[in-house]
Symmetry: D2
Subunit: 337 residues, 4 copies
């Protein structure tokens, strides 16, 4: 019989990972990739932005494509339960001397939001309210053959996972569902941490690597066949060399995944088959970095690019990308050269 | 050890069930149903016809929708291996005094063809050559979410199955893969016969019923999920009351099926999961009419409309529909009222 | 822009629907049905009980089959976050004069628990701690062909849905995700309410009907194909007449479902394809009782037994079943006779 | 309008690829792999053999595992329509001076058979009759989670594909469905040929390479999810490093495949999603060796082992393995090192 203590109430009610903003050079080409091929729904656009959402989502957007000179991530956004949470987060940022900025009207469908740079340098946006739009879940006659249902998580590379993960747990109330350690002669080091607020495996994954960088944004599909259809559709349209890794099964999280790069090189994961995490006190699942089934349960190795390439992230002031720093630990398993 | 004798060579090389022609009142509404929703590929059209094909097919059409005053079937067509087969079939029809007619240029993509009325009155077309068109199988980016791969079979109601099936076996070289008998105190009567030339379960099913009538045309989908997507797509577009029966699993043939009626009431079956029949001498599988798992392996009953309604078929002269005659046996199992 | 106010904190932290206990007459026959055919995992058994769990679950049991003279439900259980929640729930029951009882050691793998009769008479159990057991999610080589992943929800019939739902919302902090109204000349009446604590569509559904009765326990499967496999497996083993309704797609909740009755008549739902509900303040989705796509999106009707038959529930004192009372409204849509 | 001439009748009626015999060192370990994990059905065994079949098959065996000192292929077998075909094949072998041998009772479930060495040295068996056994297709309650439905084809490496393929076409009546050419400054060379008798993409694939060797035996699964389940099951049981290539989609044949090595290193392909080839005169589909989507439509490369490793084949006299000879052309695309 495991003993469990009462969970502390988090100070802030972060609901979930909510949206990301990528830079792309050509909005028309990006629309073809995301909307025409992968079946994202276009809510709205202007000369500088494409606002997309997924089929079961009811908010204005979960992915913003913004015209820019190169690929990269402007910010990743979490939804909070109330405007009060935003106020408390601004106070926290002030206390911890984290760069922050209130924005109003910068994104269509969203009124005010708070942006702050987390201790690793990741550009976070928090917002409480967004315009509601029709859910396309049961408008099956309008679905493309790939059915991207919802944004699920962000995966980021940071130089010091242990420090970064502690902040999300202690300051923001995230809980760990799975994690990876690197075993060394002196003990073990935290190499990656899967953190969540909603009841799936993660809202945010932190991996040891050159960072702060956004490794990928994960989107959930209803079943494994939809993941395979994504591969077929992209390959048929000539994007076979944009299928970077997979399809495969992750040991960690159990996801049936494929990683694809958009025409600008921004990386997304399309996946199915993770599991529910409604027991807030469940024992986190531990993996060792060198376990071949951790990354891919079926034994396949990830390509080198998967470890080396990731998106630079913008400063909260929006005046350029944050220079990434070298990680504390080696950025990949020893069996990957 | 089963003993098998050498198979007799059929006199005619019928390759497979190839296409059907339905009458519809509104071609635009039919296009919306077949092309926009179910993902059939439109090869060509004129004021009176819509020529459709399925995703893995390489011939000009497998379904012709023809403008008419009411629903109904103009003809069902089988492809033969060579023009010589057509000549031999014309001779057979003459010997057996079956109505026949050569047609030339009546269908786009097809040069000459022979039409004849089979002994039950079914309007058959035979042809040897058709214009080849690009296969869409791997143009995945152009697929709709329902993927109809190929026409598989015709299912017809005839008043006397035993006599009709004998003609297809003896005169045309079809073989029986599965069949249904009605058990009576005096013995058993053949109630339905599944007949094939190609290596699937059937090209032609003959069922005891008011006939000659075309009950449905069966189209093959790649997996059971595609059958479910067809239901979702039709329901989302407001056609939920056109889903007549299923989805379910047939005991006979093992097909995972759904039966839908087009806007004019013409019936098609969309199915997956039958099996290969490459052993030409395999023992036919026997079912009894009252076995509840024969029609639907999961026990569900078919609705009354499924037994009572079917398409009138046109005479080979094209001067009207063949008046159907009452069947020798009851047209449905005793457990269906 | 929708305005949202800060959500009130619930007084009790109910985590999720957790397990149910059914009475069965023959434990061996029940094991064959649940374990050998449907692939539930047997954690433990004694002469009177079979303790089962699903493949992604980590607690000792989510379904208890208990030897009894007839089918019926002993109780449905919710997990809470801490023992303190149990104390507060006992106080609530006392204040509201609801029958209650502490139990200790009554179920293997569980220490102490609180049982109370809700205002409609449903026998609820609350517990905070249960023995952890190995998760079978990635022990794929031990899975049967049907993969039942986790218990998801309870569906109950109660005579007065509006009153019952209010109690779960106000006293226990449940939120409504979808609901059904019956439209009358005088306005509309709440006919059914889908209520949840965890981030899926429901932990508890309340339907207008003769009650209190447990209509079914819902189990989640990873995809629609697993639901179809359940039908195939049950039919192959001779249980085709235990497949009561479906497979079909619910409009309400979007679930791809099948309802089956165990050898004693206890009803379970096996389903896939609902959606995530992490936005705690999302607008509940409204359905009208007579919308044909509400119950089955594809238009099929549910059989009469589905409306009429449900499990009697035991009193919290365990001295017999609660006599059900007639519902306020008609117990089925007008189009169902 | 494509013109087609009458097809010549083949002299022999080869029905289909029927079974293979692999050598394994440990029959118990082989049973665990094929029966317990992959769900092959064990028809019978003795001290030296394990006779397996697939779920939709009705003959005694499609895979024989035979105890031996090392992995390798004893023979590959084709079923013919009648005993007369065997006599005519023996005459052909005599005329062409190909090693041949009649065997009687060497395999359980099979009476007499003819073995002959084809011009490349591949050990072929032909037989006309085999004991019929119950089909497990609808015994769904006895299926494991991976459902291997039927043996589909053999894939062999030979030093001279053009010569080898000509023999199968001209002498045995096979037809080409797809093929690969290597483009050179002097023209193009046939690098691989997909040949069939039954109505699927192939019964026999011939690839340019060190040979004669049996590269793999292909088994058909009902859908892509079953292929993924095979990966999950093998990995869960510790065989993740036996998943050699895939899952992926072949451009050539459209198969959704995975290649696995049994505990002795014998290679099988588990696949779904090829297409029907009932039009005997369809234009073969042409691929160039360097097209990245030919091997894997999604762009992934095959590992080196896939090109280099294959099974030695036994002489028809059974006195050892045939020494392989170097191929005429390079054994892999230029982009594979």
């Amino acid at each position: 019989m495991t003993l469990r203590s009462t969970l502390p109430q988090p100070e802030f009610n972060v609901l979930r990972a909510a949206h990301a903003e990528f830079y792309v050079r050509d909005l028309g080409r990006a629309r073809e990739f995301y909307v025409d091929l992968l079946g994202f729904v276009e809510t709205e656009h202007d000369d500088e932005h494409l606002y997309l959402r997924c089929l079961e989502e009811r908010e204005h957007h979960s992915l913003v494509l913004r015209k820019g000179a190169q690929s990269g991530a402007s910010h990743i956004a979490f939804r909070v339960a109330s405007p009060d949470d935003l106020e408390r987060l601004a106070l926290l940022a002030k206390q911890q001397k984290l760069p922050q900025r209130w924005i109003t009207g910068a994104e269509r469908g969203q009124d005010c939001a708070l942006r702050l740079q987390d201790p690793s340098g990741l550009p976070l946006e928090f917002y409480a309210e967004m315009t509601q739009v029709p859910r396309m879940l049961q408008a099956y006659h309008l679905h493309k053959s790939v059915q991207v249902m919802r944004l699920d998580h962000f995966n980021c590379q940071v130089p010091d996972v242990a420090t970064a993960a502690t902040w999300y747990r202690d300051a923001l109330g995230f809980r760990t569902t799975e994690y990876t350690v690197k075993e060394t002669p002196l003990g073990e080091e935290l190499w990656a941490s899967w953190l969540t607020r909603k009841h799936t495996v993660h809202d945010l994954a932190l991996m040891n690597g050159l960072g702060p960088r956004l490794h990928h944004v994960g989107f959930w599909l209803p079943d494994a066949l939809a993941v395979l259809r994504a591969c077929d559709v992209l390959a048929a349209a000539g994007y076979h060399d944009h299928i970077e890794r997979g399809p495969g099964r992750h040991g960690l999280s159990n996801a049936l995944f494929v990683y694809v790069r958009d025409p600008d090189g921004n990386r997304i994961e399309l996946y199915a088959n993770d599991y529910l995490t409604a027991d807030l006190d469940a024992e986190p699942i531990r993996w060792t970095l060198e376990d071949p089934r951790r990354q891919t349960f079926w034994g396949n190795f990830a390509p080198t690019s998967w470890f080396e390439e990731a998106l630079l992230v913008e400063t909260v002031q929006g005046d350029g990308f944050v220079p990434p720093r070298a990680p504390l630990l080696r950025d990949r398993p020893d069996h990957v050269t």
